[in-house]
Symmetry: none
Subunit: 221 residues, 2 copies
DNA sequence: GTAATTTATGAAAGTTTTGTGAAATATAAG
DNA sequence: CTTATATTTCACAAAACTTTCATAAATTAC
């Protein structure tokens, strides 16, 4: 779990960082909106704690910008308890809203709650850059365009995703995807790999060949 | 949208009711946990606003009981701002937590946010372009012209609509629409799909076949 | 550098799954 | 009881998918 803490006050950042690290989360920090946007572009976060009142670029503008880059759950902090802000915040799709001064313990509880809510989605849909696999809808999209996979190709990709970065032998793949009662040729796997690669287009090289062993779905986190 | 307001103070209930009705929500009220549980058993609600401090049966016990009956999104209200309560609340899976005195506007914003997260097509009339299904009137229209569906076809479509973008297996469909006691052929589903598609005319391709699995009602949001 | 081994690929043959029309059966309405 | 309507089964056609296989390309071993 990686948390991005965005606040211009160092004191606040320190407190949040402390509590987060206590919880076992990784943390990263930004002092203002511009910096936050940069960080989001280059790293992956599971949640963002975003202060509204910041120099350079205010919270809501930052929020909108970040949303357009990556859809990361966000909890907004605000010094002003103006209701208008809260309403606007929720309207924009903020996941939770707290006013300063806040209780760090409550913040942690809300972080956990937000992560819990979003966890289900994450397990139901695999996503890596423009490649998405929706387990519920049984569909795969590349840059939001659905690609047509045959059942075997889909199952193959699904198994790869559930076993990313693991070298899988042809026997293993046959046993798991074709079933223990398949008595055909090993090389059948090769053909399906070929077709899956073709369908994956720009992502074809996520499937690495492991010579003398089999194949591997490689994702560098 | 139907909201169940559970609080022992009439004044509070009145305020929340006012705001909810302003928002166009239906409301129902309970004075204590016991009453709330009864109401949940007999009616369907989209969200529950639950006070913690109540006579007869306290909020958390009520919450647990209600959860075990139906899984309804819940926002907890509390007079005490004890942190322990909040932590416990989120641990139990409460959707949001507010302390009294609260701002009614913020409560409404949080209600909306919770409902948005739990967005179920709980509307009485489904509508997508020229295709409409009226759950109350049990009718389906295409471009305002009613189409005649048989009961099975209607139930099939209704189930698809309530499970849009979900790949459904024939077994699942048989179990849910035909009932667990149907022992006929899988392929019966195919025939009904065929007839439903024919009746859907220009919307026939909303029903996608998911090879080796079953069917899917696909609506691109 | 050459031979041996392993993987990639294209095309054809074979298999499975789904679409469909029609008949048989069941259910509801008059 | 008769008729109309709805549901189920089934067989065959059509479409989609899988497997095999021969050959090319790549990699490793000697």
């Amino acid at each position: 779990m990686k948390v991005l803490i965005v606040d211009d006050e160092e004191l606040i950042r320190n407190i949040i960082r402390e509590y987060c690290q206590n919880e076992g989360y990784m943390t990263d920090e930004a002092e203002n909106g511009i910096e936050a946007i940069e960080k989001v572009k280059t790293s992956d976060y599971d949640i963002i704690i975003l202060d509204l009142m910041m120099p350079k670029l205010d919270g809501y503008s930052s929020y909108r910008e970040i949303k357009s880059i990556k859809n990361i759950p966000t909890i907004v902090l605000s010094a002003r308890s103006e209701e208008a802000d809260k309403l606007l915040g929720f309207d924009l799709g903020v996941d939770d809203y707290m006013t300063k001064p806040f209780s760090p313990k409550e913040l942690m509880a809300r972080i956990k709650a937000v992560l819990k809510r979003n966890k289900k989605e994450e397990t139901d849909v695999f996503s890596y850059k423009g490649l998405k696999l929706d387990k519920i809808g049984h569909s795969v999209t590349i840059n939001d365009k659905e690609i047509a996979l045959t059942p075997k190709e889909y199952n193959l990709l699904l198994y790869f995703i559930d076993n990313k970065n693991v070298a899988l032998s042809r026997e293993q793949l046959l046993k798991k995807i074709w079933g223990f009662d398949f008595f055909g040729d090993d090389r059948t796997v090769d053909t399906h790999i070929k077709m899956l690669r073709n369908n994956l287009g720009e992502y074809r090289n996520l499937i690495k060949t492991v010579r003398a062993v089999g194949y591997k779905f490689e994702i560098k986190d």
